[in-house]
């Protein structure tokens, strides 16, 4: 195959490329921020004394973890409007990614929380601490450090998965590379794109 690098073309599309890269970073960053917070909520919701809530959240987390992200993106964007929820591709995409990864992160947190020794909870009780303080000041600070490795893995994962948002039209850097009409650009990124698309 001929490799035909075109400088003028490369310069011409650079701004769009940068914008698309920014899109990727933004989508991944915001999606991750959602996942970090929502994941914690999902982890804590499984620890309330109210068993039905634990059950429902547990099942939801399992469901999200066992269905593909691309389906979830489709679902939020295309099925949402049928229930009157109309979202821009951006919002839908980030919600889907955030939701997807929150399920994974909740498992990371859960393992971290369960690793905190029972004696720590009992010490909190003996000091008459509220449930809120017990979590915020004692349990979570101890559960987070061992969770960092797992959280890092999913941060990498979220960057890898962001291009899937192209299925609902969010132009991220990979999407742009494939969709730009000029064959030259595809060539520019040929190796990368091929690897990425598994071609």
């Amino acid at each position: 195959m001929r490799f035909d690098w075109q400088w003028d073309f490369a310069w011409e599309i650079l701004p769009r490329l940068l914008a698309a890269t920014l899109n990727t970073l933004l989508a991944a960053g915001i999606g991750y921020a959602i996942a970090v917070v929502l994941g914690l909520v999902l982890a804590l919701a499984q620890r309330t004394p109210w068993k039905p809530l634990t059950f429902i959240v547990r099942e939801a987390v399992e469901f999200i973890r066992s269905t593909p992200l691309v389906l979830q993106i489709f679902f939020v964007f295309y099925v949402g409007p049928q229930f009157g929820i109309r979202l821009s591709p951006w919002t839908a995409g980030m919600i889907a990614i955030g939701l997807h990864y929150s399920a994974y992160l909740s498992e990371v947190y859960r393992a971290g929380i369960e690793a905190v020794p029972k004696g720590q909870w009992e010490a909190c009780r003996a000091l008459n601490m509220s449930t809120r303080d017990t979590y915020l000041r004692i349990v979570i600070p101890q559960a987070l450090p061992p969770s960092v490795a797992g959280m890092g893995n999913y941060l990498v994962g979220i960057f890898k998965d962001t291009p899937m948002l192209s299925v609902i039209g969010v132009a991220d850097v990979i999407f742009l590379a494939i969709s730009l009409p000029a064959a030259g650009l595809v060539r520019l990124f040929e190796g990368f794109v091929r690897r990425k698309m598994g071609m």
């Binding site: 020794p117 004696g119 720590q120 009992e122 010490a123 009780r125 003996a126 000091l127 008459n128 601490m129 509220s130 303080d133 000041r137 004692i138 600070p141 101890q142």
Partner: protein, 270 residues
Amino acid sequence: MDHGDYPLELPEGDRPMVRFMNVTKRYGSLTVLDNLCLDVAEGEMVTVIGPSGSGKTTVLRMLMTLETINGGIIYVDGKPLTHMERNGRLVPADERHLRKMRSSIGMCFQHFNLFPHMTALQNCMEGPVQVLGLPKAEARARSEELLEMVGMIEKKDQHPSRLSGGQQQRVAIARALAMRPKVMLFDEVTSALDPEVIGEVTNVIRRLVGEHNLTMLMVTHQMGFARDISDRVCFFYRGKIEEQGPPDQLFGNPQRERTQQFLSAVKEAD
């Protein structure tokens, strides 16, 4: 006896600091405590001894509300701990009631359970600041005074991982005292310690006896220490108090065969 039949409050003149009334505790089919009755008077130091598995820890844990009870009732300072009044009747306590009552009780554990991400001083200040709502300066002054008392003021900025077991346990005692409890519970606080540092912890407890009018309930395997400092010793056997009395009587002249057997067994082990 249904818990509705217990008094809503103990009458004036018959108000020990702690009263267990017919307390039963079961784990599944295992009855750990069987109709336990036990009073601890204000300012009294009561020691609990007995073979492993006889329910000693469970007694303290129920009083600290770490465990719920299956029967009977516990009163603290004349008021029900495990129950609360609703429409003139006693019903099992909810979390709000427990939080109110728990403030009178402090506990030290066999394995210290200090917060590893906080320094000794922060461990002591945590409860006073977060739970009692004390201003930081006041909580700090109170904590430093107690750390001084347990001989740990020089190490106040160290994290628990940098402290020996004996030092950690002394911080844990200071942390519990910083909440100004009326009743202090000690569950084998020297059992996890190297023999050479046991003295530094027992000396702190010795100092507490008589001070502050603190009521204390202590589980220990150190018979000499128990004999020295207790007002009363209870020998537990299979979830019941087999025998109790002043230390000289219980150690010097035990009446029950099981007590005699237990005491001669520990003497041999020493």
